[in-house]
């Protein structure tokens, strides 16, 4: 007989080991999946995890790691604060879009005037845009008790429609020959989020992501608010007795994650993407959920997980062009990872014991 016994304390060793085991399990099952699709499994896994870092063209892919990892880490750090407290913002994709639209709109309002303060203004307005979009589910939850999961998710679809409207109408490039999409911010020096060191992939978004990691680490470990967040997640009743104000926590957690997602959107639109277009968003807001869990909701873990996830994006692209691996396969791969992670958490919280069936 196998039975589960709840551990008095979650196992620290397993809590660190499960992400690694989950990645390994995903590689094995992902390999099986690729084999079923008729692709060489070992080569596919190597293409995804090895080639972007150490392959022949790694000099090109390594900067991409920062470009793709930064938005994931920025968003996931914000999400993790809420997830820790049991506040589920799953509409980061929407906040990302709104941050990009608002930030780009502010930048484009100044076009073609050049000034040093335009980009900082865009950064602030991008963060505010994402914050405001996250405030909708936050205020509705505090005021009316509305479920934040459903509202924040619904707002993703609303944001996608606004994005379409922005690129077809109110932010459309007047000199774009009728094509959808805004002016390209890469051609507008005051608004362009260029690489800080040319060709390194290190733009302001990467800096912001690093600051966010440090900020979250300090907040969670050294600050009263961080303690309240953890307390609310682990023992809601104790938190209430300790005088934690749940409304304030909801507003803060959703607000912070919205602002960070908005920032990620702004850095993306003003840098790597360059313009507002209908297909501007690529699902970072949803992948960041996986990143947050893979990083065990811990800032340092999230940074590492963001890097790994960025790797699967880049490696997936390479595998797509070299091996003809369908792009959806990478999505399955990422979904699988979250699956194994959640399943293996069993080992962190429970002890598996074998014992002989008792004789009645």
């Amino acid at each position: 007989m196998i039975s589960l016994e709840k551990r008095p304390q979650p196992s620290r060793a397993w809590s660190l080991a499960t992400p690694l085991v989950a990645v390994l399990a995903t590689m094995v099952f992902g390999g099986l999946l690729f084999a079923m699709l008729g692709k060489p499994p070992i080569e596919a896994i190597r293409t995804i995890f090895w080639d972007p870092l150490f392959g022949e063209f790694a000099f090109y892919y390594r900067p991409q790691l920062l470009v793709k990892g930064a938005p994931l880490v920025l968003i996931a750090i914000g999400l993790s604060l809420g997830f820790k407290a049991g506040i589920w913002n799953i509409g980061a994709e929407g906040q990302y879009i709104i941050g990009a639209i608002v930030g780009a709109a502010v930048g484009l309002a100044f076009y073609p005037y050049e000034a040093w303060y335009i980009f900082p203004l865009m950064v602030i307005s991008g963060a505010l845009g994402g914050w405001a979009w996250a405030m909708i589910p936050a205020v509705l939850k505090v005021r009316f008790g509305t479920n934040e999961i459903l509202v924040s998710l619904m707002l993703v679809y609303v944001a996608e429609q606004l994005l379409a409207s922005a690129s077809l109408r109110f932010l459309k490039n007047p000199e774009g020959f009728g094509f959808p999409g805004s002016r390209n911010l890469q051609d507008y020096p005051s608004a362009f989020n260029a690489d800080l060191i040319a060709g390194s992939g290190m733009h302001w978004g990467v800096v912001a992501a690093l600051i966010a990691v440090i900020f979250a680490y300090v907040l969670l470990n050294r600050h009263m608010l961080g303690f309240h967040i953890r307390l609310t997640g682990e023992a809601p009743r104790a938190a209430r007795f300790a005088g934690v104000n749940p409304s304030r926590l909801i507003l803060l957690c959703l607000g912070m994650s919205g602002a960070l997602a908005g920032l990620a959107g702004l850095f993306e639109v003003s840098g790597p993407a360059g313009q507002i277009s209908i297909d501007f968003n690529v699902g970072y807001g949803f992948t960041a959920i996986i990143v947050a869990f893979l990083g065990r909701l811990h800032p340092i873990g999230i940074m590492l997980a963001g890097g790994l996830m960025a790797l699967t994006y880049i490696g997936g692209d390479i595998a797509q062009s070299n091996l003809g691996l369908p792009s959806a396969a990478i999505q399955v791969f990422q979904g699988m990872l979250l699956f194994f992670l959640l399943a293996l958490d069993l080992l962190t919280n429970y002890r598996i014991t074998l014992h002989k069936p008792e004789v009645a």
Binding site: S3, L4, K6, L37, W88, I90, I136, L140, F144, G145, T146, N147, I149, L150, V151, L153, M154, L155, Y157, V158, Q161, L162, A164, S165, L168, R169, F286, I289, I290, F293, P326, S327, A328, A329, I330, Q331, V332, F333, Q334, G335, M336, L338, F339, L342, A343, L344, D345, L346, N349, Y350
Partner: protein
């Protein structure tokens, strides 16, 4: 703008078609939540049902087989959720999200070779005389069989929950799993069956979109219907007939905004297209004041300690 082009009879008939996928998924989720389980993977199970049903229909040429397969696909896929929440005791919110993310990816992968194919159509239920009646005919008697199955399912679930012993046990498990366990009911087994029922219903709803409503396969075609169904369960206060009412309301909004788009109203298309989502939020706000009818053990895992 030409509003006179909108035919109210056709509008109501197409409203019922638009409402059916939401209704099917919502009825399934209602049963799951009555058993005390919050499965946020509805969207994922729907899209798996959509591609599963579509593929089988195209391969066999039989929409009936396709629908049966879609229910089976949904139920099997929901077993992943069972594995996570009932066996591995994982957080239900996170597991539901995982199911949705995984389902969206998997369906895109499976559906690659089915893009752009037109599936064989399911015949409409033609009842001699009744279907030819003016106004009532097309509204009540001119639909495909699955639409009626959806309504029958609503009635069935209502009767089951209200009058049967099975329904009583299910509700007990959802209200207080410790008490139900103490009475000797197999909490986990009952929940697993409820989750699988929810998966089958969501699968049917997904296949209804890909086989009847649209009908063709495109990536991510459920476009949030699963999430609207989740909102609908809250809207309905966990009562089947109110879920039907809500589904028709949402179906109505979808159809009206599509008709307004076609009629060329002076509102940009994007703002019309976002209206179902905005209205879902508004309805959620109005109704979420009353939480008293929610199953008490909703979203809490059960682990029997010896």
């Amino acid at each position: 703008m030409d509003l006179s082009a909108i035919n109210p009879v056709l509008l109501i008939a197409s409203l019922m078609v638009a409402a059916t996928p939401i209704l099917l998924a919502a009825i399934g989720e209602l049963v799951v939540e009555k058993a005390g389980v919050l499965n946020l993977g509805v969207e994922g199970m729907m899209i798996i049902g959509a591609i599963g049903g579509f593929a089988i229909t195209v391969e066999t040429g039989s929409p009936w087989l396709g629908f049966i397969a879609s229910a089976a696909c949904g139920a099997v896929f929901s077993l992943l959720f069972v594995l996570l929440t009932q066996v591995a005791q994982a957080n239900q919110v996170a597991s539901g999200l995982a199911l949705t993310l995984f389902g969206l990816g998997l369906s895109a992968l499976l559906g690659q070779s089915y893009v752009g194919i037109k599936p064989p159509q399911m015949g409409k239920l033609e009842i001699p005389f009744l279907s030819d009646l003016p106004v009532i005919g097309p509204i009540l008697f001119g639909h495909d069989p699955i639409l009626y199955i959806g309504i029958a399912l609503t009635a069935g679930v209502w009767a089951l929950l209200k009058y049967s012993r099975v329904g009583l046990v299910l509700r007990a498990v959802g209200e207080n799993h410790d008490a139900a366990h103490a009475l000797g009911y197999k909490v986990v087994r009952i929940r697993i069956l409820a989750i699988m029922f929810g998966g089958a219903c969501a699968g049917l709803g997904g296949a209804y979109i890909s086989l009847i409503r649209v009908p063709q396969w495109t990536e991510g075609m459920t476009a949030g219907v699963g999430w609207i169904a989740l909102a609908l369960v809250v809207f309905s206060s966990w009562k089947p007939w109110r879920a039907l009412l809500g589904a028709y309301l949402f179906g109505g909004i979808t159809v009206v905004q599509l008709n307004l788009q076609a009629a060329g109203v002076a509102i940009p298309v994007e703002y019309l297209a976002m209206s179902p989502y905005v209205i879902t939020i508004i309805v959620l706000v109005i109704l979420s004041a009353d939480k008293s009818s929610a199953p008490a053990a909703l979203g809490r895992n059960f682990h029997a300690s010896r």
